[in-house]
């Protein structure tokens, strides 16, 4: 099955082609949905088989390259279109196809009746195609192909409702914002790739990394490569300073938010950092940058999430915050923990988004949680699965989020310092608080919607079954990575599985101080108690004593307004980046460079021709005999010339 791994990429492409070209003719929603889902479901099965096949191989043979063809060969540059099947790419593929398949199935119900039904599934399949290229590519260029592909699909799907309004602008504006901000990051990624090629004379992962392992004394080069790659990651994975596109990406259909902007695409940056772990490990300064940016993003986005009222907005900021966690983990050298959180986050965040979609579906596209309330009894399955996901993301002991988040927190202390841990734990509390604010306002309390207008109802089975499966995964998904403090020496299965990938990077870091398990348990207990406190507080306040929240908001009006307006980041960018560019484009590039210089040159040329012809046109008297006279004179001169030169 490993040799057939290219099928996992081929099937989504086929699905895209069929639905994209013939979807309108097929017309039948069931057929389109089935094709779209099968195009992701079959690759999932193949990936599972490939996974077990790899699992049966000895540890040192688990890295396999499936070479398809030579993509380009220019001078010393040889790029083959090949896929790298190893522990890391298989883990990511399982998440992408598995969660992707569930979301596709869910979409069959959610997108019911939409005029762009086939277009939706075509784009979704194209996305899976690009994403699989991204995670399976065996060199930076194939990865970049997927990287740009997912960016394109993200743009297409955010702008899916292209004729609708979104907040202050329109849906296409939100889509463009996502694309352009991503492009800024991609530019960094490209620079990183150029630098890699210049340094290692190759773009192939295995070759670059094996060279990087032995290359010493090139810390500056490594630093720049890592920095550029990380800039790429901040764009794709919505980190400070390029996170602004993700909240706006919520303009897309909810399954898109679940698939692209929660479970898969936004984790591409984390994947890339983990893939290039040896390069990052060789640049300790950039590792610190990664950790600090991740940590700041985590806290920053979590605080914004506290006050937002749009159900998808809260989840969007939550995603930004959780991605920050992953970068924190990568930044302190715990790449395995970062990937672990990518996986568990995919489960519970996809579930949260799909649950939110189910609610939005039931409430006729009303997204303001202050207009919900008491939905528990109308949609029990959605409620039950949603609350499991909320517990999981908050890190309730035993659920998937607990293990991954706890691992990150522990490493941020063990490999980092106490401040990392403290801010990380604070984020965990904030996360618990805003998640349960969301849960309480949506499912508990009095019903704040008018019953004549809204008739909330449970979603159809095709939507609820994916929710249930994801809920199960959100519970048990973390059990493969139970920390050693509970499972004994080398008991963390997930870590053992990924260990060969990060072995070199961890050797290079080699800075882990010894920490006792007591310390780990103590910190874990503190964070768990704090999180439970956060859950309880949010639940208490938002189901029974909402006036407390209002009082707090009134008391800290300044802070509240600041959070409500998302720290004015959009406004700051508008004033600091967009306006200057627009103004300078208008005043300098348009009015001066274009109008004066370029147009001026062209006009001057025309003027010169005009002036000269103004002088010589006088010769055109219109008298034929004058012309004949001139001709005669010319012939006479020519004759004398010839005769004299004889």
């Amino acid at each position: 099955m490993i040799d057939l791994i290219y099928l996992t990429i081929l099937f989504p492409l086929l699905g895209f082609l069929i639905n994209g070209f013939f979807g309108k003719k097929i017309g039948n929603e069931k057929v389109i949905g089935t094709i779209g889902s099968a195009a992701v479901g079959i690759p999932f099965l193949i990936t599972v088989l490939a996974f077990f096949e790899t699992l049966n191989l000895p540890v040192d043979q688990r890295t396999n390259v499936v070479e398809l063809f030579t993509w380009m060969s220019v001078g010393s540059l040889e790029i083959s279109f090949a896929y790298l099947v190893d522990q890391l790419s298989l883990t990511m593929s399982l998440v992408v196809t598995g969660v992707g398949f569930l979301i596709h199935v869910y979409s069959i119900g959610y997108m019911h009746g939409d005029k762009g039904y086939f277009r939706f599934f075509a784009y979704m399949n194209l996305f899976i195609f690009a994403m699989m290229n991204l995670v399976l590519g065996d060199n930076f260029l194939v990865l970049f192909l997927g990287w740009e592909g997912v960016g394109l699909c993200s743009y297409l799907l955010i702008g899916f409702f292209y004729d609708q309004k979104f907040e202050k602008g329109t849906v296409p504006q939100a889509a463009k914002k996502a694309f352009i901000v991503n492009r800024i990051g991609d530019f960094g990624f490209l620079l990183g790739m150029f630098l890699i090629y210049q340094t290692f004379d190759s773009l192939n992962f295995l070759e670059v990394f094996s060279q990087a392992k032995y290359l010493t004394g090139a810390e500056v080069t490594f630093g720049f490569i890592a920095l550029f790659l990380f800039i790429g990651a901040t764009g794709k994975s919505a980190q400070i300073p390029l996170f602004v596109w993700l909240p706006d990406a919520m303009a897309g259909p909810t399954p898109v938010s679940a698939l692209i902007h929660a479970a898969t695409m936004v984790t591409a940056g984390v994947y890339m950092v983990a893939r290039a772990s040896i390069i990052f490990a060789s640049a300790p300064a950039i590792m610190t940058v990664v950790a600090v940016i991740g940590l700041l993003t985590a806290v920053f986005a979590a605080t914004i999430g506290l006050v937002q009222n749009d159900i998808k907005k809260v989840l969007a900021y939550s995603t930004v915050s959780q991605l920050g966690y992953m970068f924190l983990a990568a930044g302190v050298g715990a790449f395995g923990a970062a990937i672990f959180h990518v996986m568990t986050h995919a489960f519970f965040k996809a579930l949260l988004f799909l649950g939110a979609g189910s609610v939005i579906h039931a409430m006729h596209h009303q997204q303001d949680i202050t207009n919900y309330g008491g939905l528990k009894k109308y949609m029990p399955v959605t409620f039950f699965t949603f609350i499991i996901a909320a517990f999981a993301i908050s890190g309730f002991p035993g659920l998937s989020g607990f293990f991954s988040k706890d691992e990150i927190l522990w490493f941020s202390y063990a490999n980092g310092n106490f401040v990392y841990w403290l801010l990380g734990a604070l984020t965990a509390v904030l996360t618990a608080f805003y998640m349960f604010r969301l849960v309480s306002l949506t499912f508990f309390g009095e019903e704040r919607f008018s019953k004549d207008k809204y008739h909330p109802h449970e979603s159809p089975k095709v939507m609820t079954i994916p929710l249930i499966i994801l809920a199960v995964l959100s519970v048990i998904g973390g059990w493969i990575g139970i920390p050693e403090v509970f499972s004994g020496e080398h008991g963390n299965q997930f870590h053992n599985w990924l260990a060969p990938i990060f072995h070199d990077a961890e050797l290079k870091l080699a800075q882990y101080g010894a920490h006792s398990h007591t310390e780990e348990l103590l910190l874990m207990t503190i964070s768990v108690i704090a999180v439970l406190g956060g859950i309880f507080a949010a639940f208490k306040i938002y189901t029974q004593k909402r006036e407390i929240a209002e009082k707090v908001a009134a008391k800290f009006r300044g802070i509240y307004t600041l959070l409500w307006n998302k720290y004015y980041v959009d406004e700051i960018y508008e004033a600091a980046v967009i306006q200057p560019i627009q103004k300078s484009s208008e005043k300098i590039l348009w009015k001066i460079a274009d109008n004066k210089i370029i147009d001026g040159l062209v006009n001057a040329l025309a003027r010169i021709v005009d002036e000269i012809s103004g002088i010589i046109k006088k010769m055109q008297t219109g008298v034929a005999q004058f012309y004949a006279l001139v001709m005669m004179g010319g012939i006479a001169i020519a004759l004398f010339w010839i005769i004299l030169s004889l």
Binding site: K617, Q625, A628
Partner: protein, 102 residues
């Protein structure tokens, strides 16, 4: 015939050519100008035949036949143009035909 020197023929040819040139440059009547052009052509023909005959190369005489053929065609076209101009402008005075002037 061989007693007449070649220079004489050439002088006549040059004289005819000069008359033609003077006519083209000086006369204002389009038809006269046209006839002067023909005169120039024929003076050239005379020179060609002279050389052909004195140098014993028939190519010059063959060449003249071609010139005469072209001249006949040219005369037809030229006269047709003059008639067309006359119908438009009621004159064949080339001083008044200056529509190409800037």
């Amino acid at each position: 015939m061989s007693s007449i020197p070649m220079e004489l023929y050439l002088l006549i040819s040059a004289f005819m050519f000069s008359v033609g040139v003077a006519g083209v440059l000086i006369r204002r009547n389009a038809i006269v100008v046209f006839m002067c052009v023909e005169l120039m052509l024929n003076s050239a023909n005379l020179a060609l035949i002279t050389f052909s005959s004195y140098l014993g190369d028939p190519a010059g005489q063959v060449f003249v036949f071609f010139v005469m053929t072209v001249a006949a065609a040219e005369a037809a076209v030229g006269l047709a143009i003059i008639i067309a101009i006359f119908r438009n402008k009621q004159t064949v005075n080339i001083d008044e035909i200056n529509i190409f002037k800037w």
